[in-house]
């Protein structure tokens, strides 16, 4: 299967480089005999202000791509440019080059993404001031951020275990917003939540995007979720891009066989049946 050329060129401003430009990216995890190619020549372009959906089943490499974007995984070959600046290969510890767009990752599991021993205010204060993490001077900003994710600002001094999964995910989003990111990477942030809670988080993301002009990379195994929040979609299978394009085109006229199978497997999709050829 050949990877289609990068999508989203239509929406890219010719003058400014796209916020995310991934070219021919290969990521290999593990060493020696256990080495596995997790991303296999992946191209991806996300224009500033766009919402891009990344879909794939387990093992497709979608989370690896997210981690490569924040510098956790180092590419074996290929390149990642953020706002035209190559992402340094030194992982987390190195100094960021000036002008490199800020990327924040909201992790999947709301139970492990917040430190159980720190209050919400302390957690957010750390994103505002990573070195000292002082709460007192940041009170006002913490209130604003909590209001932005539609949480009660008076809850700032409570601990994570006093919140539900959906509320925790809102706190994680507030923390990501506190770092004033150019790109928000949401890695399966609703897959551990109940459907009604998920609906609330999806509404929140759409609202934040509209108000703050965020660029988003939304990762999910659920096509229907991605459809709701993205302008463009990339479908990954075994580390390769099998389909890429504007969301409505992909859903209306999927070109890849695998995308069609994905669409047909949704039990809520019209025409889904369990009877017939097994």
């Amino acid at each position: 299967m050949t990877a289609p050329t990068s999508a989203g060129t239509a929406t890219t401003d010719a003058a400014a480089p796209p916020l995310v430009h991934v070219e021919d990216l290969v990521v290999v995890l593990g060493h020696g005999r256990s080495a596995r190619t997790v991303l296999d020549h992946v191209d991806l372009t996300v224009a500033r202000g766009a919402a891009h959906g990344l879909v794939g089943e387990s093992g497709s490499g979608k989370s690896t791509l997210a981690k490569a974007l924040v510098g956790v995984h180092r590419p074996a070959s290929g390149q990642i440019r953020l706002g035209g600046i190559p992402l340094p290969h030194r992982g987390l510890r190195g100094r960021r080059p000036d002008g490199l767009p800020r990327v924040q990752l909201v992790p999947q599991d709301p139970w492990s993404s917040l430190d159980p021993r720190r209050t919400v205010a302390e957690t957010i204060a750390e994103a505002l001031d990573p070195r000292r993490a002082r709460v007192a001077p940041a009170r006002g900003r913490i209130r604003t951020l909590l209001e932005q994710v539609r949480l009660d600002p008076d809850a700032a001094d409570r601990y994570p275990h006093q919140f539900s999964g959906g509320q925790r995910q809102r706190i994680a989003v507030a923390r990501a917003l506190a770092a004033d990111p150019d790109l928000l990477v949401a890695d399966e942030i609703t897959s551990a939540l109940d459907l009604t809670t998920q609906a609330g988080i999806l509404d929140l993301l759409a609202d934040l995007r509209a108000r703050l002009g965020l660029t988003m990379l939304f990762i999910s195994h659920d096509l229907a979720v991605v459809r709701e929040v993205s302008d463009e979609v990339t479908v990954l299978l075994h580390g390769r891009v099998v389909e890429q394009g504007p969301t409505e085109d992909v859903f209306a006229r999927p070109s890849a066989d695998y995308t069609r199978r994905l669409l047909a497997a949704d039990p809520g999709a019209p025409g889904f049946t369990l009877d017939g050829a097994g």
Partner: protein
């Protein structure tokens, strides 16, 4: 003193709940009381008792009696007074050694986490070697090098305890360091040492504090041991070990002299161990909730049985042929109702779905039916019956195992990773139906073939990790159906699977269920899956049935009850259809 600061720190961390924890943990209370008493003795005894403990008198080698409760030594000093006075030095030395082990050990362990990989490997190998080396021998060597004395005994025992703390700190911090909140802190640009101090160490403080108390007990014994063999405290100073050392030459003439220091040692050691045990319970939230009440199923007042005819489940006439009858099921945990008055029936060949969000009680109902309620949950019902078998009380294990097949959510956790699939899949057939090994294997191979598992014979020789999640889940469905059960209970069987795999597993489940005419109780949070598979659907919320509908109605998107409508509307696909009709 080390242990008490540990207790205070732990209490401070946990706030008001600590007071309740004290009451919940009698061993912590007992251990804390003993240690506190010893501290008071250590403070007061040298002030009040230095006279009888130090003054040479003519009452040498007196037997225990009126004036001298535990007798006197060859110089006429009171044995009990000396043991009490020795408390201060002994406790100070043990606390000093423990503090040294703790501080140095945590520093080495945490340092290994921050160090570059090569340095870390070297450091860890050194620590491993040191852990393997007997700490008392190490202490003997150090004491011999530094010369005998109280100071060198503290250093020796303190250093001997460092590897244990280092190893535990490293192992614990490594577990925490891979959690998302630590990664996020790194990504935010928080410097490494600050991540360690802010996020990692606070989250491992519990187990470390527990080790601290048991390490204190151990240091106490080892230091006394060093003093006993003459490498520790030297005259004229004395600790419990030194007192034992001095009592040894006259062990046959005045055996009572070993009594006082031995008693004090046992008391202090037991106190610290009890406190450590209590702390461990306090730190472990699973143990903090007191003793489990045990699963108990009692029948309610017989008068209530008359209500059965109400047909609360809408079953109407002819309900006697039902495979499963659940009437007025209540499940409680520590006074909280998880399931409240739930009634339904499953008829032969019917697929009944329980749908709801987390906490709605759907899985608890399934486990109550299967007799697999967790410890501390108590089920009660007017009637809970599988065909003619009463599921309340204690139904025969063999009938339960063969007449109810169960498929769980996570296929990778259902199977024992160490055993081959063959023995696990044939277990019920061999154990409960007393079939031969070959017959069981043939039956399971047939069942696997039927559910389209590829190469069924080879699968039986494989370990669970060699199969994909979808294949494993098919295998568990096949095994669950191999006894021809009256009822199949499937608890979120496809939630852990990819969506394309889920569709295929559901198709096979549907087909087999039709062919065998098995009744199915199907639990899911996904109203789409339930709609596609089930004939009858119960919508649950907060442990109650809020709506009864059918799969056909859900497929058509029809819902009378507002909560069912809300669940349908929350499906992302449904939301999209609304947004762009």
């Amino acid at each position: 003193m080390a242990v008490d600061t540990a207790l205070l720190a732990e209490a401070a961390l946990r706030g008001p709940s600590a007071r309740k924890a004290w009451r919940r943990s009698p061993s912590l209370l007992a251990g804390g009381t003993v240690l506190l008493t010893l501290v008071v003795v250590g403070v007061l005894a040298p002030v009040l008792l230095s006279g009888p403990a130090g003054t040479l008198t003519g009452d040498a080698n007196l037997r225990p009696g009126g004036a001298h409760w535990l007798g006197t030594d060859p110089f006429g000093r009171d044995a009990l007074a000396r043991a009490l006075v020795a408390t201060r030095l002994t406790l100070l030395m043990a606390a000093g050694a423990t503090a040294l082990s703790f501080v140095a050990g945590v520093a080495v362990g945490a340092g290994a986490l921050l160090a570059p990989p090569r340095v870390r490997q070297v450091l860890l190998r050194v620590v491993d070697a040191a852990v393997a080396f007997p700490s008392l021998v190490l202490a003997l060597v150090i004491a011999a090098v530094l010369g005998a004395g109280a100071g060198s005994a503290v250093v020796a025992i303190g250093l001997a305890g460092v590897p244990g703390f280092a190893r535990l700190t490293y192992n614990l911090t490594q577990g925490v360091a891979t959690r998302d909140f630590v990664t996020t802190a790194h990504l935010l640009g928080v410097p490494g040492p600050r991540v360690l101090a802010r996020h990692v160490l606070p989250n491992v403080s519990g187990p470390l504090l527990v080790l601290l108390t048991s390490s204190f007990a151990l240091s106490l014994l080892e230091i006394s041991g060093l003093s006993f063999v003459g490498l520790g405290v030297q005259s004229p100073q004395y600790d419990w070990g030194r007192l034992l050392n001095e009592a040894l030459p006259s062990i046959y003439t005045s055996p009572w002299l070993v009594l006082a220091p031995s008693l004090m040692l046992v008391l202090a050691g037991a106190g610290a161990m009890l406190a450590g045990d209590g702390l461990a319970r306090l730190v472990d939230p699973r143990q903090a909730h007191g003793a489990p009440a045990g699963t108990r199923s009692t029948r309610r007042a017989a008068a209530a049985v008359t209500d059965v005819a109400d047909g609360a489940d809408g079953a109407g006439a002819g309900s006697d042929d039902a495979v499963l009858v659940v009437d007025g099921l209540v499940v409680e945990a520590a006074g909280r109702r998880l399931v409240d008055d739930v009634s339904f029936r499953v008829r032969p060949g019917e697929v009944v779905g329980l749908v709801g969000e987390s906490g709605s009680g759907k899985s608890t109902i399934a486990m109550a039916v299967a007799g697999l309620l967790a410890d501390g949950l108590v089920a009660d019902a007017r009637e809970l019956r599988l065909r003619d078998m009463d599921l309340l009380g204690r139904p025969p294990a063999r009938r339960l195992a063969t007449e109810i097949g169960i498929v769980f959510q996570d296929p990778s956790a259902t199977f024992n990773p160490a055993l081959r699939l063959g023995s696990q899949l044939t277990e019920v057939l061999r154990v409960h139906l007393r079939r031969s090994r070959t017959a069981s294997r043939d039956a399971v191979v047939a069942a696997l073939t039927e559910i389209k598992v590829t190469e069924p014979r080879r699968r039986l020789r494989q370990h669970p990790h060699e199969l994909s999640g979808g294949m494993l889940q098919r295998a568990s469905i096949a095994a669950a159906l191999s006894t021809e059960p009256a009822l199949l209970v499937a608890d979120e069987p496809t939630t852990a699977l990819d969506v394309t795999v889920q569709a295929e597993v559901l198709r096979q489940l549907r087909r087999l269920q039709r062919e065998h005419g098995t009744a199915v109780l199907f639990i899911s949070h996904d109203i789409g899956v339930v709609g596609a598979l089930c004939d009858t659907v119960l919508v649950l919320r907060d442990g109650r049935v809020v709506d009864r509908t059918t799969g056909a109605a859900l497929r058509a998107g029809a819902a009378d009850h507002p909560w069912t409508a809300a669940l349908l509307a929350a499906r992302p696909g449904a939301r999209h259809e609304e947004a762009t009709p």
